[in-house]
């Protein structure tokens, strides 16, 4: 155990713990590829990581800056074309965990990464959904990870980029989906799971030192807490070392100064 860690590190490590050795994890744009790789480097060495660039079974030594970095391909079992990736591998139902981030999230796990404001006259034009709409519907289940802020965790998202549980209950089944949807939300403060019936995200565990007031103060909806909220185990020395080594290797690899004389 270590007491010297940041909320961000706790979030990544808590997310990594949810991944299993036999998971096939689709790491979409914006998703915590750090969590997936910490899992791979600690308790889940056989986990299959798939990036939407077509790389299947990657094992990068540094975190990719983009989802198509060369090392993903060099360490992959196989690299396929992107249409095949979306048809055979995602739509084909082979992904057990889709890992998504969010610019805006609501209590039912619906995600917005498209626009802040009105779609036709956006206040902020975000990058868009990328792979997320179909990751959300085709993966066996969805893990979401994001830092808590009042702007990010909102009562009503401006645009439903990726469908979570809709308005809760059996909304997914009504749309013909047979996958579980969001089953886990990991923030920098807490671990949340959907209520079995209403599907509203409920805090089941808070990270060491975090209070219910902290969680509510950074969440735009009225937070539901489980009857017995546990304390998330602090990062182990190995987990923390693995994450920090990975980040250090990544920083060194990406910070090499350009001497090309012109960028872009």
């Amino acid at each position: 155990m270590s007491n010297d860690f940041t909320p961000d590190e706790m979030m990544t490590i808590a997310a990594s713990r949810a991944l299993k050795n036999d998971d096939v994890c689709f790491v979409g744009i914006g998703a915590p590829s750090a969590a997936c790789n910490v899992a791979r480097l600690t308790h889940a060495p056989e986990i299959t990581l798939i990036y939407e660039s077509g790389t299947i079974g990657t094992a990068p030594s540094v975190l990719p800056l983009s989802i198509g970095d060369g090392e993903l391909c060099e360490t992959a079992v196989s690299t396929v074309a992107v249409p095949e990736m979306f048809r055979y591998w995602l739509q084909g139902g082979r992904v057990t965990i889709g890992f998504l981030g969010a610019a805006q999230l609501d209590r039912f796990g619906n995600i917005n990464t498209t626009v802040i404001g009105d779609y036709d006259r956006p206040k902020i034009r975000l990058p868009g959904g990328g792979g997320a709409p179909e990751i959300a519907s085709s993966s066996g289940e969805i893990y979401i990870t994001m830092k808590q802020t009042l702007r990010g965790m909102v009562e009503k998202i401006d645009f439903v980029t990726s469908f979570g549980h809709g308005t809760g209950g059996d909304d997914r089944q009504k749309l013909g989906m047979t996958t579980l949807g969001p089953t886990l939300l990991i923030t920098d403060l807490a671990v949340w799971r959907p209520d079995p019936v209403t599907k509203e995200f409920t805090v089941v565990s808070m990270h060491p030192g975090v209070t219910k007031e902290n969680v509510q103060a950074t969440c735009g909806w009225t937070v539901k807490f489980a009857d017995d909220v546990e304390v998330t185990p602090a990062p182990s020395v190995l987990e923390l070392k693995t994450l920090r080594d990975l980040k250090a290797r990544t920083k060194a690899a990406h910070a090499a100064p350009s001497t090309s004389g012109a960028n872009a």
Binding site: G54, Q91, Y119, G129, G130, P133, E134, S260
Partner: protein, 284 residues
């Protein structure tokens, strides 16, 4: 039949004002040199498409050459937002930009359908996703056996597709290796394909099932070493990550952007790309 041309001649011969055009590349092999030549030749009213428009689309749009963009993820990979795209969408600068927005699955399937000569792509997608409400080109069909409702989008059939690839042989057969993206599909879906390559070789010397575009599927091949910089060409040079980070600051300011484009694109030549990647070759 592929002609070996300079990128200047290949762009001039194959692109027209108002064309629909794809510059494809999925992080790997992004055709920067081709896009810069298109910018230098000053085309107007282009409809541009790409799954992952990044810096070159920021540049094309910021320079006012684009009427419409079809896309599924418009970001600076690993860095953040595209500031010229945002300025066009949010503030109509330098003019309004029409957008047709899809998911990656839809775009990948739409290129696949284009390559396959079909009018539309059919897939399981957009379930509960709000894009289907704001994009009239997202429709649905009912499968005739199970009754399942599936998504349908029009096939993508660009007038011209530009890609960058590792190498061509002397007949004009082109090899792509590593992260393949949708480049093969984008070429086969296009009316005309222009491909920049790192080099021309006697023999492609690769695997029997490698991704090869036969010469008769290509309009023009242009040798532009470094033509994918600051993205990378597997086996030739690495990704120049710092350039992506620096672009964020350049694109944040209209004047700074225009000055940069003037110096590094409008007054530059395709030959500068070889110099740009010189320091990156050793590590690749």
């Amino acid at each position: 039949m592929a002609k070996f041309l300079s990128i200047r001649d290949a762009v001039a011969d194959n692109l027209k004002h108002g064309d629909s055009v794809a510059f494809e590349g999925f992080t790997h092999l992004i055709p920067h040199a081709a896009a810069h030549e298109v910018i230098r030749q000053g085309f107007k009213d282009l409809t541009v498409m790409r799954m992952t428009p990044d810096i070159i689309y920021d540049q094309l749009i910021g320079m006012g050459m684009v009427k419409k963009m079809i896309f599924s993820f418009a970001g600076n990979p690993g860095v953040g937002l595209l500031r010229r795209v945002r300025d066009a969408v949010e503030n109509q600068w330098p003019h309004a930009l029409e957008v047709e927005e899809h998911s990656h699955a839809a775009m990948a399937n739409a290129y696949e359908a284009g390559a396959a000569g079909l009018p539309c792509a059919v897939f399981r997608g957009y379930l509960g996703a709000e894009l289907a409400k704001v994009n009239a080109n997202i429709k649905s069909i009912i499968g005739p056996f199970t009754g399942e409702q599936l998504a349908a989008v029009p096939a993508l059939r660009p007038d011209v597709t530009f890609i960058h690839a590792q190498k061509a042989d002397r007949k004009g057969n082109v090899l792509i290796e590593g992260i393949l993206g949708v480049q093969k599909e984008a070429v086969l879906a296009a009316k005309r394909a222009v491909i920049t390559v790192e080099e021309v070789v006697d023999d492609l010397d690769t695997h029997t099932n490698a991704c090869i575009l036969p010469h008769w599927t290509i309009a023009a091949i242009c040798v532009v070493p470094g033509g994918a910089h600051p993205s990378y060409a597997s086996g030739y040079y690495d990704r120049d990550n710092v350039n992506y980070i620096e672009w964020d600051a350049i694109a944040a300011d209209r004047e700074k952007f225009l000055a940069w484009m003037d110096e590094h694109v409008l007054k530059a030549t395709p030959e500068i790309f070889a110099e740009r990647v010189r320091h990156l070759r050793a590590s690749a």
